[in-house]
Point group: C2
Chain length 446, copies 2
């Protein structure tokens, strides 16, 4: 049956889909999968450093001996054995029984992303305000957009979210007659900012939030990947009721099993489970058992140490290359953990407009515009050091420095960028773009 | 920091959460996990029949040799190798290249549940009408409730959805000034009805839908699990543009990896990918590779034949036990595939009110009220024959017949049910309740 009248769906989409369109920049990013391009865009962890033979042996048992259980449906909240391991992991950030953390209040999710989506489903009506760092994690912005929420950015500096700016944002929102439902924050090794919220500020932020009855969504994928000293106590470790803590095994183990979690006050936890069941029925029992087994039986803390050493070496390579290569007027943050450096371009340059020329020069980054709900951020870009080798990182920075220099020269000469930007190039997410970028996730955030 | 003012969240939940509450009947169902209870409630496939040793060997390679890929992020649409296998599976139901099916229009999801949720996100605004069979799959009703849609049930008989009733429902909705966004239907071996839509009716339903510009969401988890003959051509095989086809590997392989899919017209597929990225970033690459490998290298069609034989034997056991044991006035459907029998109680009995007494008699079923958005359906219940052995099925029916007989007698004597129902027992989903019922998913549908 061809030639029907049903080929046009535009009058039937839900309103929430209006802002959610695919980006033409995806095509550009497919190019970054080519081996000749140095991608500093991706947030793919270096999973090849895992003890893959041992992981394979573990998987054999899970699919064989334990197959009748691991291949079956499981509960919507997540497997208890895994929730117990999750509590052990959180204890390293000060979130333990003494602050009321319990396996019973953990909900297992499909990566941290589903955790953010569930929290949004439970709390956000269209038109609600979400406060978030500016810049903020692009995947979270996609969730908030799907929830038809309005994001109000709160600026950060080298010590993370600025408390006075948060207080001011709350006042502005209240004056506008709107309601801020929660603050979304990545306190440790911020994506994309690379900065960490100082201990003093943690207490200040929590005090402000408590006064305003503002929930805090603490997203902490990188907390155990610090390069110096022990993890700082999490916001949730300091405040029992007002903080929902979200994290993931994507960076401490691997992202390919898609397992994350949220720790929530009991009443909220119940809502999250109901929302998750309506969304995915239950998380994968196989994936949950794999991670519970890995964290119960294998030297996972040693492995995290290995990851930290690899990432620290790459961070060092990136920072020293930036210092050596970057033209005057370029600035960047100095992360003490995690995956990202946030770079500010010389005056007048625009990271999104420059991207096609960077890719032509065989280097890729994520333009800063992706990390702001309002499309600002063009004077910034995000560089990732998690996946490429130090040598490739140095080569990538050399190429990028050349592009910026040329762009600056042309701009000085002609008062504009080197070439007109494609008229409708809009930015979408490539946070996790890694070795197989054509395959990589790209939440539809413009 | 204790004794905060932030322990009550009721004034901050999103409106969609109002109807989504946990059911007290969950506690009852936890009891069905006890070995002494025969559960005819669960929809858990009999995964122990899989060649688990071979699956284990396959998993070892996926986690070991291929770990650097399978444990990494992947694309939001899903892995191409898996989407190709999905097209081979769909071809068995007549959905092939000649009807425009292509791997490019497939989106891989976290089980069929996420597929239904994505479709709802893309199409449903609050207040939109969804047409669905009455009774309908409880997990789908949970999705539509979360989308704040109004479900209008269309009755079924032994040949499935009744075309005249669909036309009438469309008129009623139009007269009310409402808009039906889509018809949700399970044409093959209906859950919970057990019936299959006849070939003639398939064409009639599609003609009605096309005239009304009504999208059809065809949910087909059981299509390859028929007990006689080849699968009937799917609705999607007969109509290229107006049908979105949803299915899952949960019944042809196993549910524990949580992999399903949706095949959609190209423009819609793009929206689904964007919505999925905002929800889960990407599906598990490990799970996708496992299923793609299983379907590419192992005798999966033979395995499906094994499943069919097991389920047919159990269906036979259930039907013959019902014929032998059930008191007069009890009726039931005779499924030619799938997992479920839909039973109608003698006049005056109520399946939800009777459930506590059935569980006391060590047999469990799903009350019919779970399969109607409006809470009707109390004169029906769903029996599953997929998981228990034939012997256990016969014992379960014997116990259930005793409960119904006693209930009928007491009702004849006192004009009411045997005991007052707990005042606020409300029903929620236990579709997949199987051997580990305390762990089983239970979408929050009242």
């Amino acid at each position: 049956m061809t030639g029907t009248t049903l080929d046009d769906y535009t009058d039937r989409y839900a309103q929430r889909m209006r802002g959610m369109t695919a980006s033409e920049i995806r095509a550009l990013f497919a190019v970054t999968a080519r081996p000749e391009v140095v991608s500093l865009a991706g947030g793919a962890p270096f999973v090849a450093a895992l003890p893959l033979d041992a992981v394979g042996e573990m998987m054999a048992k899970l699919g064989g001996e334990q197959g009748a259980t691991t291949l079956q449906y499981s509960g919507g909240q997540g497997d208890l054995a895994l929730r117990e391991r999750i509590c052990e992991v959180m204890a390293l950030s000060g979130i333990d029984a003494s602050t009321g953390a319990s396996p019973d209040d953990v909900v297992v999710t499909v990566g941290g992303q589903q955790a953010l989506d569930l929290v949004s489903r439970v709390f956000l009506d269209p038109g609600d305000v979400v406060l978030a760092e500016g810049p903020s994690y692009v995947g979270a912005l996609g969730v908030f957009q799907a929830a038809q929420a309005d994001v109000v950015h709160v600026p950060i500096d080298d010590d993370g979210l600025i408390p006075a700016a948060l207080a001011e944002a709350l006042e502005t929102v209240a004056r506008a007659g709107k309601r801020a439902k929660f603050l979304y924050t990545v306190p440790n090794y911020h994506n994309p900012g690379g900065v960490t919220l100082s201990s003093e500020r943690r207490d200040e932020i929590l005090a402000i939030a408590e006064r305003a009855r503002l929930l805090v969504i603490e997203d902490d994928p990188y907390g155990l990947l610090g390069f110096s000293g022990e993890p700082m106590p999490a916001l949730r470790a300091r405040h029992r009721d007002g903080v929902l803590y979200v994290s993931t095994f994507s960076k401490t183990f691997a992202p390919g099993l898609r397992v994350g979690w949220v720790l929530a006050p009991h009443a909220v936890r119940e809502k999250l489970v109901i929302a998750s069941e309506a969304q995915i029925l239950c998380p994968s029992m196989f994936a949950q058992t794999a991670i519970a087994t890995y964290f119960a039986t294998m030297p996972w803390k040693e492995q995290v140490k290995t990851f930290r050493q690899i990432y620290q070496e790459r961070r060092d390579a990136l920072l020293s290359a930036l210092t050596e290569q970057m033209p005057a007027g370029t600035r960047w943050t100095r992360p003490d953990g995690g995956f990202y450096v946030w770079l500010t371009l010389p005056d007048g340059l625009h990271s999104k407009e420059m991207l096609p020329r960077a890719i032509a020069a065989r280097v890729a980054y994520v333009p800063g515009t992706g990390f702001y709900a309002d499309g600002t951020g063009g004077s910034h870009l995000r560089l990732s050091y998690c996946f490429p080798t130090p040598e490739r990182i140095r080569e990538g920075v050399r190429r990028l420095a050349g592009v910026i220099e040329k762009e600056t020269l042309v701009r000085a000469e002609f008062g504009t960028a080197a070439a007109p930007a494609p008229s409708r190039v809009t930015w979408t997410h490539a946070t996790h773009l890694g070795p197989a970028a054509g395959q990589a996730p790209a939440p539809g955030l413009e």
